[in-house]
């Protein structure tokens, strides 16, 4: 039996939850068909999360590509179909091509599994990001390095803790409805062990009555706790928090059945969501908005 999962017309961090809600009652080893025929747009989070979804399923999933040529063409340029063809039974997908290199794709979907991959990602983003961050987002040229540092630390989370490879993508776009400004978005998603299991592997871990995915996220993201005893560990996410604080950005991390967010004044997200449909690994999104002149 194959269960059809409808992919929303606009796939982002928020609407990906609708995908997981449909998936929740379906046993791991049952085949699913992800139907994206009517999907018109996807954020870097949406695309990388789809790939991790495929990784997480025991049975190879089928995937219907968007019917819109424009959407398909754009997803091709992000590199989505290159990796999707390895993970899904693809239907209706265009021949994969990355030619053209869309200007607002700062970093195409890139697999991250080893330290070398992080070097590759950081090298590529520095070449492309400086002019976009300074000219389009009015972010100080000095902040470009901080942006690459943030990206590096976010990717290292996969290398150091996930236990399996994941994906990263970076894109800029105009966030018309919510913000009316351009944003640059980093998405880093994996289907690995997740924050809770990672922290449980620490020799110093002591479970409390409230130990769950939400608490694990609070420990790691807010308090900088790591599974390693080394006191120097846990600085990566602290650095990410510092960067988003400086540039009025937003950080959200989903792991297991919880999601935590550092919410700036321009957004109305909640700081902690629990009892979400369970999903393996960790999915992180970092959003840096265009800087506007102080009032």
């Amino acid at each position: 039996m194959t269960t059809v999962i409808k992919i929303p017309p606009s796939l982002d961090e928020r609407t990906f939850e609708l995908v997981l809600e449909q998936l929740a009652p379906v046993p791991q080893d049952e085949k699913v068909l992800l139907d994206a025929r009517h999907t018109r747009w996807a954020s870097p989070y949406g695309l990388t999360a789809l790939l991790t979804l495929a990784q997480a399923r025991a049975e190879r999933s089928a995937f219907y590509a968007p019917e819109s040529d424009e959407t398909c063409s754009y997803w091709s340029r992000t590199g989505f179909f290159t990796y999707a063809s390895e993970l899904f039974e693809l239907h209706g997908a265009p021949p994969h091509s990355r030619a053209g290199g869309e200007s607002d794709v700062l970093l195409e979907i890139t697999p991250v599994a080893r330290s070398e991959d992080v070097h590759e990602v950081v090298g590529r983003i520095q070449q492309k990001s400086q002019s976009i961050l300074t000219k389009e987002l009015n972010i100080d040229a000095k902040a470009t390095m901080g942006f690459a540092m943030t990206l590096s630390e976010a990717c290292q989370n996969i290398v150091e803790h996930a236990g399996r490879g994941g994906w990263v993508a970076v894109q800029t776009y105009r966030w018309q409805k919510r913000l009316g400004r351009r944003v640059v978005v980093i998405a880093v998603c994996d289907a690995g062990v997740g924050f809770r299991q990672s922290l449980e592997s620490s020799p110093s871990h002591r479970e409390s009555d409230r130990w769950d995915d939400g608490m694990a996220l609070e420990e790691a993201v807010i308090r900088g706790v790591s599974r390693f005893r080394d006191p120097g560990r846990g600085q990566g996410l602290a650095g990410v928090r510092r960067y988003i604080g400086r540039w009025d950005g937003k950080l959200s991390v989903r792991s297991g059945s919880a999601r935590i967010a550092i919410v700036p004044s321009w957004d109305e997200d909640v700081p902690l969501q629990e009892d979400l449909p369970a999903f393996p690994g960790a999915q992180m999104q970092i959003t840096i908005p265009e800087r506007v002149a102080d009032k």
Partner: protein, 188 residues
Amino acid sequence: MINHIDLSSVLRRTVCDLYSDLVTRPTGKAVRDGIEKQLAEIGDRTLTVIDFSHVGLLDYSCADEIVAKLLMRYCVPFAPEAPPRDAYFLFRGVSDSHVDAIEAVLERHGLAIVAQTEDGAVMIIGSVDENERRAWEVMCRIGRAVPVDLAREMGVDCAQIEAALDALCRRRLAMRFDEAYVAVGAAS
């Protein structure tokens, strides 16, 4: 003895000759091992200039592995065992973005370094108390000094200055020569 280590050369030699960014923990550890290897080949008391001039990006993980962990081996309050040698460090060619990463990791461990920025200015980065910072700044200005001179210059009592100098030496921010002290980075 003054020793010079170009970090970008260590990076290319120990990790990959195509890299110019210091990112990830494994990279930082490999570079620190490379530095330690060079230190092992030189004299007992050394001032080593660690040069960041040709390093692009430095992330927090790498800063922790290279700067903090290297320093912890030689700083008496932090080293788990006796330091292998009497080593002092000056971090040269440090850019604003390097400072961001280095400062964050040093503050986490309660460490401090002497850094020379790209424009040649010398400064302490990290955690030091006010007396230590002032003593270091005065030594940078007047050069080699004995505690009584420093106490007079700073308008504090001698015992206070001796405690600050002792802390600066243990933290590798000043060197003692008999009864006199010299700030790391003075007239660098």
